[in-house]
């Protein structure tokens, strides 16, 4: 009942997109055959790209460190299998631009020969710093999709009140978290306990949407011996968004512009907890993840445990290919995922799903005028006025859109999903956010230029002043000399 009350004091708005999870929910996690080549990008996380430490032609072992973290916000990259590094160069990346990023090409030798791993028999004897250090070394990033380096989050959140483990998986189609909870609950629970130990959390809540009963039961069974609470949350999008899950489970809100730690909360995804378990218990770095391959155009949707770097096309082939022409390929879920136009791109740490959607599933139509029906206002989980923001952005009034809360938008897509006029609202908002960022950058640049120009002006003025002073001095000296000579001559003449 307590949760019931919390819910009604909690999340606002939200939408109920068609789940379509039945396509793949019953399919157990399988491991596809080893691809011939893996394409491992140096940047699979938020922050600075990793810096390569192996050379082309070198043989690497499975789990071997091949690129180290650079700077404070970064994550290392490991070889997903044993083989030879045959190239380090640009390859299409999982980014909507389709632009290439520096990527290792690894020719797999099929031996799956592991590097020496630093396992730990009694992980609970480790100190908080030690756990964070091992998580950092394993290259673990937030697997819910944000790909923020996990160790950094642990270090920034030490001493929080509540650790929330996100098993919401509110995106339609995706069942990777569902399956991992059903099949690997014990390992996840140990991973959660390790995270809790690393941040000294006083309370641990695992939130799972109530459309995943098997996962809830599996997690409850595994968590029986611990003090963590496994809570069923109402199935509603975007329940799995950090801000919303905190609101629903704790009744609190992250202050605008702040982080969960500001209210004593840390949120990690269930798959991240599993990766933490693997890293600490067995010393295995993050080199694989669970991916859902689904969509109306996929012949046999499935959940697969995939090595990082596996080309998307291999997974589509593993799912028996297409049952019909896909109108759109999406990486991630349909609500926030990216449209991809090339199936040669590799799966990276943050890829949760590969969807081949039919035109019917997308259901998109040409935009018509806004009738101010304010369905978007009711759907917005943040409490924004999407229709007003879009109107300001259309009129190039970005400042007006910011006043209305543009920067608080979480880009969840609820407004675009429900809009009966099919107005691409989130597209407007992301465009505006990008434009604002560009404006801010150019403003910084202008300021820097102005400062430099002012400094130059001052420098030139100073040099001229000094020169003038010197000239004056010399003139005075010369005049004095001449005067002295004149006086001497006069004196001589007398």
């Amino acid at each position: 009942m307590k949760l019931f009350d919390r819910f009604f004091s909690g999340m606002r708005g939200g939408v109920h997109p068609e789940g379509r999870k039945d396509l793949s929910a019953a399919r157990g996690i399988r491991v596809p055959p080893l691809p011939k080549k893996l394409f491992v990008p140096l940047q699979q996380h938020i922050g600075a790209p990793a810096s390569p430490i192996v050379c082309v032609g070198e043989r690497v072992l499975k789990g071997q460190l091949i690129a180290v973290a650079q700077g404070n916000v970064s994550a290392p990259v490991h070889a997903p299998t044993s083989g030879i590094i045959i190239a380090l160069g640009d390859h299409v990346a999982p980014h909507p631009s389709g632009l290439p990023v520096p990527t290792f090409t690894l020719a797999c030798d099929g031996l799956e020969e592991w590097a020496a791993l630093q396992a730990c028999d009694d992980p609970f004897a480790l100190s908080a710093e030690d756990i964070a250090a091992r998580v950092a070394a394993a290259g673990i990033v937030g697997l819910g999709g944000a790909t923020f380096p996990s160790a950094l989050k642990l270090n920034l959140s030490r001493g929080v009140q509540t650790l929330i483990i996100n098993g919401g998986e509110c995106e339609p189609y995706l069942t990777c978290d569902d399956r991992i909870m059903r099949e690997r609950a014990t390992a996840i629970v140990e991973g959660i306990s390790l995270i809790a130990q690393a941040v000294a959390a006083k309370e641990v809540i695992v939130g799972i949407e109530d459309n995943k009963q098997e996962a809830i039961e599996a997690m409850r069974g595994a968590a029986r011996a611990s003090s963590m609470k496994v809570v069923a949350m109402p199935s509603m999008y975007p329940m799995g968004s950090e801000k919303q899950i905190i609101q629903v489970l704790t009744g609190q809100e992250i202050p605008a512009g702040g982080r969960p730690a500001d209210i004593g909360v840390l949120v990690h995804n269930v798959a991240t907890a599993f990766a933490v378990h693997q890293a600490i218990r067995f010393g295995r770095p993050l080199i694989s993840r669970i991916v859902t391959v689904s969509g109306g155009a996929i012949k046999s949707p499935c959940n697969v445990e995939v090595l990082v770097g596996t080309p998307v096309q291999e997974l589509i082939d593993f799912a028996s290919g297409y049952s019909q022409a896909a109108a759109r390929m999406v990486l991630g879920g349909p609500m926030m995922g990216q449209h991809i136009s090339n199936t040669g791109i590799p799966v990276v740490k943050g890829s949760s799903g590969i969807l081949a959607l039919t035109a019917d599933e997308i259901g998109h139509d040409a935009a018509s005028p806004c009738i101010r029906c304010s369905t978007c206002v009711r759907a917005c989980p943040v409490g924004l006025l999407p229709l007003e923001m879009a109107a300001h952005i259309r009129g190039s009034d970005l400042a007006g859109a910011v006043d209305l809360g543009l920067k608080d938008c979480i880009a969840c897509g609820s407004c675009s999903y429900v809009c009966p006029a099919h107005i691409p609202l989130v597209h407007y908002f992301n465009y505006a956010k990008g434009d604002l960022a560009a404006q801010e950058r150019s403003k910084l640049k202008q300021e820097a230029t102005k400062k430099l120009a002012e400094a130059r002006g001052e420098r030139i003025a100073r040099i001229e002043r000094e020169r003038a002073e010197m000239m004056a001095k010399r003139k005075a000296a010369r005049a004095a000399k001449e005067a002295a000579a004149k006086a001497a001559a006069e004196a001589e003449a007398v």
Partner: protein, 355 residues
């Protein structure tokens, strides 16, 4: 280069055309009842309104050199004409419908920039224009002549009424509100004025003189509930409007029952029911937050009651709606939802350390 589609890659199966169609379906019971109650003249008037709106809108779109079909297919112009027709006296001449419809879609909507851009509810703007310009035609009411009754008009007679302004013998009547107003000027109190003129059951069903589609309170309520159930509208504006009419009516009728009509008379007469569920819920001209819509509905209700009680006109729904339409931008400016992580003034919530 392929164009990149932006997320979300899934969309709810709704469209503006479907929304408009649902509203029309919700209006259908009250409309069909009006057809039955007032017979062929009502059907003619309704049809003329719709045709005029379609042709008028198509013409204006052509002048703008825009594609006509998508604009007509969204159904908003037809819905506007439909709502206007329901608010007209059923035995009004054809040109009332034509002038009103053209005013609604051309002046009321397209001149402002088309769908979604108009400040005033087009149907109500047209009704007010007609009432001010043609007060005689707009306040000539006829007693019901149901299609199935022996003295009901046939198609030919109906056409004569609509297109040749042929008077209906001995059937001139007054609407409830008009009647009360007239009786007041003669110094006759409510107790006598209402005798034989207002029976709640008849008012509920709509068996009385009045506008084409405004009399069937129950059927309009039914349509409104359908719209709420289908999430096309929310309860806020309708409930607020009904409260805005009923609460002052109740208070004043308790103070002086012979001069101020009670809440039931107000709720079941004139355009209140149609207004509450189909007019103040017009998305384009009403505020865009639930709280704002409540304020808007309440204002419409209160103004309706004030105009009916102290104004020169017997009915006030259309005037009230237009006045509140003018206030909509103001309401939207001041009534905004609280943003996540901020207080109601937009200031970020304070951080508190959990440890």
């Amino acid at each position: 280069m392929n164009s990149i589609a932006h997320s979300p890659h899934a969309h709810a199966p709704s469209s503006i055309g479907k929304v408009m169609l649902t509203v029309m379906l919700a209006l259908a019971p009250a409309t069909v009842f009006g057809f039955w109650l007032y017979g062929w003249p009502a059907i003619n008037l309704w049809a003329v309104s719709l045709i005029a709106a379609i042709l008028g809108e198509a013409f204006v779109i052509r002048i703008q050199q825009r594609a006509v079909k998508p604009v007509l297919m969204d159904g908003s112009g037809i819905l506007t004409a439909w709502l206007l027709a329901l608010s007209l006296p059923p035995y009004a001449p054809w040109w009332i419908a034509v002038v009103g419809s053209l005013f609604a879609v051309v002046v009321g909507k397209q001149i402002f920039g088309g769908l979604g851009q108009n400040v005033f509810n087009p149907a109500m703007a047209a009704r007010v224009m007609l009432l001010i310009s043609f007060p005689l035609e707009m306040t000539t009411w006829g007693a019901p002549l149901p299609l199935t009754s022996p003295n009901g008009l046939n198609l030919i007679e109906g056409l004569r009424v609509t297109f040749l302004s042929q008077p209906i013998d001995g059937m001139a009547s007054a609407s409830l509100l008009g009647h009360v107003k007239t009786e007041f000027t003669r110094g006759i109190g409510l107790d006598q004025a209402l005798t034989g003129f207002f029976t709640p059951m008849d008012a509920l069903w709509g068996m009385r003189a009045g506008s084409l589609g405004e009399t069937a309170a129950l059927l309009l309520l039914l349509g409104g509930l359908v719209l709420i159930a289908r999430r096309i509208i929310t309860w806020h504006a309708p409930v607020a409007m009904l409260l805005g009419v009923a609460v002052p009516a109740l208070i004043f009728s308790l103070i002086d029952g012979n001069h101020y009509a009670g809440p039931l008379v107000h709720l079941l007469s004139g355009g209140v029911m149609l207004g509450a569920f189909f007019i103040v819920t017009d998305p384009v001209t009403s505020p865009n937050t639930a709280k704002g819509q409540f304020i808007f509905g309440l204002g419409c209700g209160l103004l309706t009651w004030v105009i009916r009680t102290w104004g020169g006109y017997p009915e006030g729904v259309a005037f009230a709606v237009l006045l509140m339409n003018a206030a909509t931008p103001l309401i939207d400016q001041y009534v905004k939802p609280r943003i996540y992580g901020r207080d109601s003034k937009g200031v970020a919530l304070p951080a508190k350390k959990g440890a």
